[in-house]
């Protein structure tokens, strides 16, 4: 790279320079360093170290109590967990909830609460269903989530809440015949959308700490993922899944409108496009199957040929649509 050339702005530009022969292999890392945002990556590394450390430590605690070690008395188990709970809570207050470490400590308190509930079930053999554990965990940790000022804490709480709802639905409502599996999938798919709407509203009201792109994307993936399966089930023969299919379409339309017109976000539109493309492929497959039954060899070959063309056409449509959106909606994350 000559001095007269402008420094590359990002990794993609460095790669283009390398593939165009403008820089040599030995100059590559130097060019990468020039465009690397050192301050950003230092902050990222600090956050990653803290998160990885906390996740490994807390996973270790969960594994430890799941092992149900006989040589540790019930008193010691409760003592250890309650100490962990109190200490992490006090540490969160001392370190302040505005700091990442303080927020991490409050998440640890939420984790200790859940493990404590599980150990109560272990020691007293309460016979409670799994949903009761998660429901209690959800209720008991809600106040901490409310004061947390942390997207990560809210995401953790939402995962527990969705697990509680799914388990209650499966172990009680569906088991007793009060709810169809499709209806349960709709509930668990729509719930993240409700949380998403709350998040967007809170953000508008000034809760800037909720302004993490991954939080929004995570909720959209949860919602679309839950609603996708009943929609696919409807396409492949099960007529009782029609409500799931309709709700999938409605949620998709609502999300597309919101993140195209109201709060433009290209990454959300890319996620939606991926789900819709795969569903579109499935619908094409069903229609082809209905039109040409795959009974004979010739029909099978013709059917698969048409399906291959349809899948390629759907992918093409997705590419064209995403290119159009990429021009219209500025992406949050390019690299």
């Amino acid at each position: 790279m000559t001095d007269s050339q402008a420094a590359p702005a990002n990794l993609a530009e460095v790669n283009e320079l390398r593939h165009a022969g403008e820089i040599t292999a030995s100059q590559y890392l130097g060019a990468v360093r020039q465009c690397r945002d050192s301050d950003y990556w230092h902050r990222w590394a600090m956050r990653a170290l803290l998160v990885l450390g906390a996740v490994h430590l807390l996973a270790g605690v969960i594994f430890f109590f799941a092992y149900n070690w006989d040589e540790l008395s019930s008193f010691s188990k409760f003592g250890l967990l309650q100490s962990g709970l109190v200490l992490s809570f006090v540490a969160a207050i001392v370190l302040r909830l505005e700091t990442v470490s303080g927020q991490g400590m409050l998440i640890a308190s939420s984790v200790f609460t859940g493990v404590l509930l599980a150990v109560i079930g272990q020691v007293y053999q309460t016979g409670a269903d799994a949903w009761e554990l998660f429901a209690a965990w959800t209720v008991l940790t809600l106040p901490w989530a409310l004061v947390s000022k942390s997207s990560a804490h809210w995401m953790f709480w939402i995962v527990i809440c969705l697990t509680a709802v799914s388990l209650y639905g499966a172990q009680v409502m569906v088991a007793l015949g009060h709810l169809e599996p499709t209806e349960l999938a709709i509930v668990t798919g729509v719930l993240p959308i409700v949380f998403l709407a709350c998040r967007e509203a809170a953000l508008r009201l000034g809760a800037e700490w909720l302004d993490d792109g991954w939080f929004r994307r995570g909720l959209v993936v949860f919602a679309m993922g839950s609603l996708f399966f009943p929609a696919i089930a409807f396409v492949f023969s099960n007529d009782s899944d029609l409500p799931g299919f309709v709700v999938f379409l409605l949620v998709t339309a609502a999300l597309a409108y919101t993140y195209m017109q109201v709060l433009p976000d290209f990454s959300i539109l890319a996620i939606i496009t991926a789900f819709v493309t795969v569903l579109g492929m499935a619908i094409g497959g069903r229609l082809i199957h209905e039109t040409i039954s795959f009974d004979g060899s010739g029909q099978l070959v013709v059917g698969l040929f048409l399906l291959g063309g349809w899948c390629a056409a759907m992918t093409t449509g997705a590419v064209r649509f995403l290119r159009y959106l990429h021009k219209e909606v500025s992406p949050e994350v390019q690299q």
């Binding site: 990794l11 390398r18 990468v32 290209f266 063309g309 390629a312 590419v319």
Partner: protein, 320 residues
Amino acid sequence: MSNAAMPWYVRGVIGIGAWITALVLVALGGAIVFSLLDLNDPGAVAVVGIGYLALGISLLRKEQSGVFAQQLGIATSAAGAALVSGGLAAEAETFWVGCLVAGLLTVIVIALSKDKILQFLVAALTAGFYVGALIDHRTPYFIDLVALATPVGLYLLLRPTERDLMPTAVALLGVFPVVSLMLADSSSAWWARDLEQGGTFAQALHIVLFLTLVFLHWRNSTDSKVKLQVTAFAVVAALVCVLLPPGGSAAMLILMLAFVIGSRPFAVIGAALQAQFIARYYYSLDMNLFDKSLLLMAVGALLLAAWWVVQRADARGESR
């Protein structure tokens, strides 16, 4: 605008579409040979595959090809590569032939096409045959042999050739973490019984590669405080990699790579792999739950200690 100019996650979406289309086209190839022509010969599948590959590459090489032709070209070429290597592997009754053929096809694809998605798919196919061959032959120390893909991928990423081999590099770099996730609870599988799976060499290799990345960062830092922080971090990170099973240390390696080259996609992939590793580790039968819990707590404590040391150094630097 080409696919390459789109954000990485969009290329992922297009890749999923191409992969599904390729699967349908593979089924079509099989239907033509086994059902329509009624040939009970896997070698005939390879012939159909050659036709697919030629058609796909010619579509991709057309200068004025539209988006549909491009997507069809990617899917047809990928399906062709799968049919040729799969057909010849079935004919020879060994995955090694499939691996060799898929490897040759990857070279051909790199030479004839600049499409990143196709290159990634064919390179991943080669890696899949490689892993399949190791498992099918019940190769001792197969984990260590799978880990050999990592340094090759890393080298291609850090010393890129003029010809764009990044998709191959990414596929190679992903082989070990993906395999270790899929085989996390495989100790009781039929092929793993009474088989020395290895892992020590893989772990040592990851530590060496991790320290190499740390050294690259250290060498290019001019600030003595940063150098000291990096050195302290290297010691802790090496200890963490010693404690973690190879799958965990491979994910850590990808996170370190993201940090050194400043790549958000690798940061996302590394974080997702590490989260998956912890979740799947619960079911691993290599160690009992008690030992696993102690190991994870030790790793967590070490990482938190590293965070504390670096943060203290930052705070001191700011107060001066």
